[in-house]
Amino acid sequence: MSKEKKVLTKPKVAFFDFACCEGCQLQVANLGEKLLDLLGLIDVVEFREVMSEKWDKDYDIAIIEGSITDHHAEERIKKIRARSKILIAYGSCATLGGVNGMKNSFELEEIRKYVYGDKYHYFDSMTTKAVDQVVKVDYYVHGCPVYQPELVEVLKCALRGIPYSVPDKPVCAECKLNENCCLYDKGVVCLGPWTRAGCNSWCPNNGNFCYGCRGLVKNPAKNAAKDIIARYKLDEKLMKNKFDMYNKAKEVSDESKK
């Protein structure tokens, strides 16, 4: 066999945003030196926040930010999926529904009226969905915003075609290794014990508590939650609200499946 020189074409990568604050795109733009290294490996063909070019062929990797909140978005994500070999959902809005999911705590008609007033029927809206509640997702980068080192790790896995497994242990596991003073010792409610790790306990490291932005571990300890609510004399409703801040959209879908 003659040694043909392989024509190396860099994978075509596109970034898209749906209902979100675009903060995760900023995390990408702020990758610094790592971004330059990444750009040596990929061809970014669409990225609204940093370039105006568009691409009309297929994507090797589509990176999706934001949640799906209206019918137009639903159609658009389906079209992107159809043109993409690999689809990565990044940021809580995309992976969980995120803060947009708080809408799901209300009757849709009511909340539409509340937000858009009496002309609300001109504005399409639907129950907030995470990307994987509409199309198949190949990789997840959780977080609000995404944790840069994890994003890079996931991209490397996607480029090598190997799976990335999101850690299925609570944030405490990382927080303890960082020797943070436990938030419960400080009398602060923290969702770390039920939230999946992978962020290197970013918030507690910086004096904040865990908001649960990465979603719950596969098998969250429900009984223990009740015990902790009792032991630290917490308000159960407040605790529920804290969980709902990022996780509401997932909860609704889980119930509707039953």
Binding site: L41, P170, C172, N219, R231
Partner: protein, 345 residues
């Protein structure tokens, strides 16, 4: 046995002389009753009266993240080079419970196949113990496992005698250092003071759960199927705090990471925990310890039963960290008391 004396006001000189030779770490306060071993430059940064630190000094013996090798996949055959990052560190103020913990790790990592990363790193560490004259708090159970008194495993060992420290020199490394700073030798009155303190300690330190420790392994044999584990499991969060803070837990995971050139990479060893849902999960999804109750039971057996069979010693040092750190309030002393109670039937 060689003993030297250090006047308390000289402690700062001691730490500074040590810091000239190597990095010095010691317990420092983090607030809210939490302490950690961290780098110090002078004695006034050190909390001499401390409750066991969040992580035990094991973090210096087996770092939470440790690079084991570098690899290169670019050639025909993959290449790898063993990695070993060593740093000379003096660990000051190690309580007897943590000294016992280090002894346990030494046994485990000396087993064949030997763990050379651990063994070589250990040689670089200068261990200075510090005696507890009273209990740190109600979570401790050091008397139960006889780790309230020094049993070796240090280079130097400090005992607080009020206005001065009595220093027991245990190794050549320790002797070289105390001689380099001309510490005076202990006098008979210092030894009398030590004896008096130890007598006094006998009154304070008592078997914390009133159960004969020798009987614990056979008690555990009897309660393997007890409902008590389900009770503990109901409370458990599976957060891994209890094992991460344990001075004798040594389970680890290995993971390979590729660099951004997608050709070279490195292998990391990170701490793992038998409390995580994924720990005993194997290919195909089978989980040998799928229930929290099984995992908590495993932890207790791993401290009071299996190592007794294998190494003839407990792998609990009574430091109390696991109970202190548990948000759900799982308490080791309570578990052992229940084990004793249940095994009667």
């Amino acid at each position: 046995m060689k003993y030297h004396v250090l006047e308390k006001e000289q402690l700062n000189c001691f730490i500074k002389s040590l810091a000239k030779k190597m990095k010095v770490v010691a317990p420092i306060s983090k607030g809210h009753g939490n302490y950690v071993f961290g780098e110090v430059k002078s004695a006034d940064e050190i909390s001499l009266n401390y409750v066991p630190t969040i992580l035990p000094p094991k973090k210096y013996f087996m770092p939470t993240k440790e690079k084991m090798l570098d690899f290169d996949l670019s050639g025909k055959e993959p290449k790898d080079t063993a990695a070993l990052d060593l740093e000379e560190i003096a660990i000051f103020g190690v309580h007897t419970c943590d000294l016992a913990g280090i002894q346990c790790l030494n046994i485990v990592f000396n087993e064949r196949p030997r763990d050379y990363n651990y063994l070589l790193r250990k040689e670089k560490l200068f261990i200075i113990g510090l005696e507890c004259n009273k209990y740190c708090d109600e979570y401790a159970s050091c008397t139960l496992v006889n780790s309230h008194l020094p049993n070796g495993g240090y280079d130097l060992f400090f005992t607080d005698l009020g206005d001065r420290f009595l220093i027991n020199v245990n190794t050549q490394k320790g002797e070289d250092f105390v001689e380099s700073i001309d510490l005076p030798k202990a006098e008979p009155k210092d030894m009398t003071a030590l004896e008096k303190l130890r007598e006094e300690k006998k009154k304070i330190f008592r078997n914390e759960i009133d159960v004969d420790p020798k009987k614990i392994p056979e008690m555990l044999d009897k309660v393997y199927n007890s409902k008590l584990w389900e009770k503990v499991g109901e409370k458990c969060l599976s957060c891994g705090n209890c094992t991460n803070v344990c001075p004798t837990c040594y389970c680890f995971d290995m993971e390979d990471f590729i660099n951004l050139d997608l050709k070279t990479g490195y292998r990391l060893r990170t701490w793992d925990s038998c409390q995580f849902e994924t720990f005993a999960t194997v290919a195909g999804g089978e989980n040998f310890r799928s229930q929290r109750s099984m995992r908590q039971r495993h932890r207790v057996y791993r401290k009071f039963k299996f190592p007794v069979d294998k190494f003839n010693r407990f792998f609990c040092t009574g430091c109390g960290r696991c109970s202190r750190t548990c948000m759900a309030g799982i308490n080791l002393k309570e578990i052992l008391k229940e084990v004793a109670e249940e095994s009667k039937f």
